[in-house]
Amino acid sequence: MENLTKKFGNQFAVDHLNLDVQEGEILGLLGPNGAGKTTAILMLATVIRPTEGTAYVGKYDVRKQPDKVRHLIGIAFQEPKMLWVSTPWDVVNWHAKVCGLTTSERKKRVKEVLDAVQMWDARHKTVHALSGGMRKRVEMAKVLVQRPKIAIVDEPTAQIDIVGRHKIWKMLREMRDEGSTIILATNELHEADVLSDRVCIMHRGKLLVCDTPKKLKDSIVGGDIIDIQFEKAPSPKAVEELKSFKEIVNLLQTKPQNLRVYLNHVEDVVPKIMNMFSKKEIAITSMHMSEPSLDDVFAHYTGLTIEEAQKNEA
């Protein structure tokens, strides 16, 4: 994507996006609703035209050769796109036909995929009679049956239960392993973390940062977190003393008896912390260490958690 931009009126939905997607990777576009993920995806899929800049899919320009681009791309939309009088079988089977699958391949794959997304038994029900989660699974089934060179999936597991979610993740990984490049737009932190080879964080139409989930998390100063629970609330003096440790970057008193400490070199600091509180006869009831999440990364770059950003956009 080269300076890919979309404006609606005076509002930038996507603001000069520059990004290279590597062949055969799962690239997660992470951001709250309104970050510009879906608009960027729709431009890639040639459904809407960029206001400025362009994107190349394979070697084809989305502006100049949209027909060629469409032959490489398959998209599962955020909201299922199907008429209520259709049935899952009609939708997926017709999609497979349009995408050029041979008759025998199509019959086999449609059954396989509808089975995998647990829609085979409901294949002849009308879309009207399906739940939101079932419709979403049918939407995903279109891309899974197509196995395009470049698969774009927009919030693929929204409204899907945990078992179905894992199945879809597995199928997306299989698609990647079979050579497809996958662009995953999501506001689910865990999904972006476990599924993406690289994560690009978007906010208000701009790309903030892009790297592997591990590198993104490691890049935060104070990248380790300890949650400490005390028997009684520690004195302000003790808290101040803790703050003075040079490895500690930030400290939050989440409850009177709880402290959340953001720090570097956790393995060196933990003995020092325990020693200090022991000397002051302040009993620690539990100490829990965790790694920063992508939410912490998002907060690091925007000053907001994804949830807060989502609320602001709303």
Partner: protein, 256 residues
């Protein structure tokens, strides 16, 4: 070509999912013949015209017209359910998409009206095979043309309410200012301007050709070539102009 056929297939299959609508339309058609046609033909006496047969033939064309118009409403249905975005993301060229929808809209109208035409022919009684086949071909092109016209207006207007109103007005004007329900001489006698408009109306061309093909003894047609050419022009205009307009309106999100 294959993709074009798939687009046609989709529209034809979808239309026949609306079973309630189809059943109601068939009841409407039969009621029009059995009630209005029978009763009105006792009241209306036109020299050299068996008004009952005349009306039945015209009714078939009116039904074909309204069935072919339905594709425009499907465009809005697609937009409402986001299916439009889906169709635009498929490996199908915009031309194949609009041509497929136009042909699909016409074809399904034709398939739907087929049994009703058979009922009409049963009521009318006699058929001249060669001229009937020519008139069927003309009705086929007429249905494509109406379908192309409906798609063209649907993508130009972008509001389902306005489209609905426009189609209602168009239906009133196009059908009433045609020979679907009354001979041209009667229209001309009532108002020469009406007569002139009716002479160049595609519904007139289709109705006259169908009566000619179905051998309805009405003084309607000396030369079937003129209405046939009129229908070809109508079909060509709305199919090809429709493709261009559709292409321009939808590429890049202009339909939103």
């Amino acid at each position: 070509m294959n993709k074009l056929l798939l687009v046609i297939e989709r529209d034809v299959r979808l239309f026949f999912q609306y079973k309630f609508l189809i059943i109601m339309r068939v009841i409407w058609f039969i009621s029009q013949i059995a009630l209005f046609g029978l009763i009105a033909s006792r009241m209306i006496k036109i020299p050299e015209v068996d008004y009952f047969k005349y009306y039945v033939a015209g009714l078939s064309v009116m039904t074909l017209y309204s069935a072919a118009i339905f594709i425009g409403f499907d465009i809005y249905e697609d937009a409402e359910h986001g299916v439009f975005e889906y169709l635009l993301s498929l490996p199908v060229s915009r031309r194949q998409l609009v041509l497929g929808r136009s042909i699909g809209g016409g074809l399904r109208a034709f398939i739907y009206v087929g049994p009703l035409i058979a009922v009409s022919l049963y009521v009318i009684g006699s058929v001249e095979p060669v001229s009937f086949l020519i008139s069927l071909l003309a009705l086929f092109l007429f249905a494509f043309g109406v379908s192309g016209m409906s798609i063209t207006f649907a993508v130009l207007i972008k509001s389902s309410d306005r489209f609905d109103i426009l189609m209602g007005v168009l239906d009133a004007l196009i059908v009433r200012l045609s020979t679907a329900m009354y001979p041209l001489a009667v229209v001309q006698a009532s108002n020469p301007t009406y007569g002139t408009i009716a002479s160049f109306n595609p519904v007139t061309f289709a109705s006259d050709l169908f009566r000619w093909g179905a051998n309805v003894d009405a003084p309607v047609l000396n030369n079937p070539l003129n209405p046939l050419l009129g229908i070809i022009a109508f079909f060509a205009f709305f199919t090809f102009v429709g493709v261009i307009i559709y292409d321009r309106r939808i590429e890049g999100g202009g339909w939103q």
